[in-house]
Amino acid sequence: MQNDPAILYSSYVLAHAPDFVRYGSKPTRDLAAEPELLEQMAGSLRSWDEVLAYPPNQTFIGNLTPDDLAAIERPWYENLVSDAESEGPFGRMITQAALYGLMKLCDDFDLLMISEALAEQARSELTGFEHRRDQITGATTDELTRFIDDNDGFELYHEGVVAGFIRSVHEQDASLEAHVLFENLACKATAVLAVSELLENSPINPEDVDYLFNTGEEAVGDRYQRGGGSLSKAVGEVVGCVNATGSDIKAFCAAPVHALLTAAAVVAAGLHKYVVVLGGGSQAKMGMKFRAHLRNGVPILEDCLASMAFIVGPDNGDAMRLRLDLAGKHPIGAGSSPQAIYQALVVDPLEQAGLEMTDVDRYAVELHNPEITEHGDGGDVPKTNYRTLAAMAVLRGEIERDEMDAFAAKHGMPGFSPTQGHIPAGVPYLAHAHAAMRRGELQRAMIVAKGSLFLGRMTQLVDGVSFVVEPSAGLTKSTEK
């Protein structure tokens, strides 16, 4: 078919933001109740070098494969990668100063003010964005003091000291309160970097993009339509997608998979040629498990904002075909037991195509880094999911019970994604899958995402969607870039 949809390119970005951790949802609440925790928190934050060399982060940007990561002994925060690079085949990691620079150049309403020194550091550490670099301006101490005195909002820190301020827009609008705007601006800025990386590393120009789907979880809007707004065009504007429009797909953690499926359908229908699916970082989730990390003597590992972007378009012969005929969904009437969920998401679509579970080389489930979640009450999320998939294969008679561990090892992978809501939802594996297909090592992968609809207190339901990717016909055992 002429418009066979495929994922053409992927990008992943991490922004180290140790001074943003205090403004995560959990740290904000806990520090208000126990201000003395701040000192303990400051002593448990990681340096840039530690974050850069952290094996899961190197896996996220593609310098290590998931199999490489599985071979590194845990704790990973003690077994750092030597000669770690901030750039990888899938994207890059940036410093906190560079992140502040990005937020400044994304700030179209003068919400954020930073010091002259921080602005100078930001300009030196953030590369690219020539057309907007003049927005990375700094304020004198007097100007900053006046801004703080004249506005509601809160002070921002860099290297432990006050270096900026973000203001609320309206004192009677909780949706435009400084904390909300800070989260939205952080999400926009990191998404901008991911889309910029995506387009720079592909032959597709920004003006070739027809449509953008944002999948971030931030609720953009004012008091009359909290969360009803969109970040997609806001991001596209900064990266020069002048011919695109866009909208946001909201589905909790499962949104990227919903959006990739929708993008593929849009391409297949011929409505648009190139569709970008993007997701910015989740500031609210910074330091979410910090109490458990402090309690267990573990560094605070939720210290990075993560973002990602994908281009979906007609199969160009060097891509991953997204099999719309193998899409899975968890229908409202399916029930929420693990059996019901995996039957709907994994088994039903495979059975329709006459495939067995073992016909899928790799499953990418929620890929939360277990080192982050195990110290709280989250357990090892990917491991639990792979054990459940293996049990499903046992119940179906595809494997024996004593083959479950081998199934999980062969068809699964360790989690390597920051716990940033929608980011871990199977999709961090897509670029790895593409690379493995180019090496001729992978013929079929299934991406499985689940969403906790009940968190919004409007239903007790869970959600889930899945899809299968396969190599383009033109992909052979050729070179890996």
């Binding site: 037991s337 009450d377 357990g379 639990t384 293996a390 049990a391």
Partner: protein, 108 residues
């Protein structure tokens, strides 16, 4: 444990005696099952929710324990719990839930 769930358990415990109430957990791993069991016996160990410092001492079981399995319809159990029974580390989960049920403290 979710703050709403802690509040609900606390409210139900206040409304009934512990002889009339059993908490049944469904966590898929021993760490979270242990944390939940600790929360409804000794109190919320994370000191974040309504059960912080509230040692309810409720009888707590995991759905994978034989006492619960035997009291359920076999077909229903298989439909809803069969997969977890296969995939979870049942012995380890039961060890920790039982530990807190029987009055265990900070160390095993």
């Amino acid at each position: 444990m979710d703050l709403d769930d802690q509040a609900n358990v606390n409210r139900l415990a206040e409304e009934s005696s512990s002889e009339e109430m059993v908490v049944i957990l469904g966590q898929p791993d021993s760490n979270s099952a242990g944390l939940f069991a600790e929360t409804v016996t000794r109190g919320d160990p994370t000191w974040a929710g309504p059960l912080a410092g509230v040692p309810l001492g409720l009888p707590v079981y995991h759905i994978l324990e034989p006492e619960i399995r035997q009291s359920m319809d076999a077909d229903v159990y298989q439909e809803h719990v069969g997969l977890m029974e296969l995939s979870a580390d049942v012995d380890e989960i039961i060890k920790w839930v039982k530990f807190y049920r029987e009055g265990g403290g900070d160390t095993l």
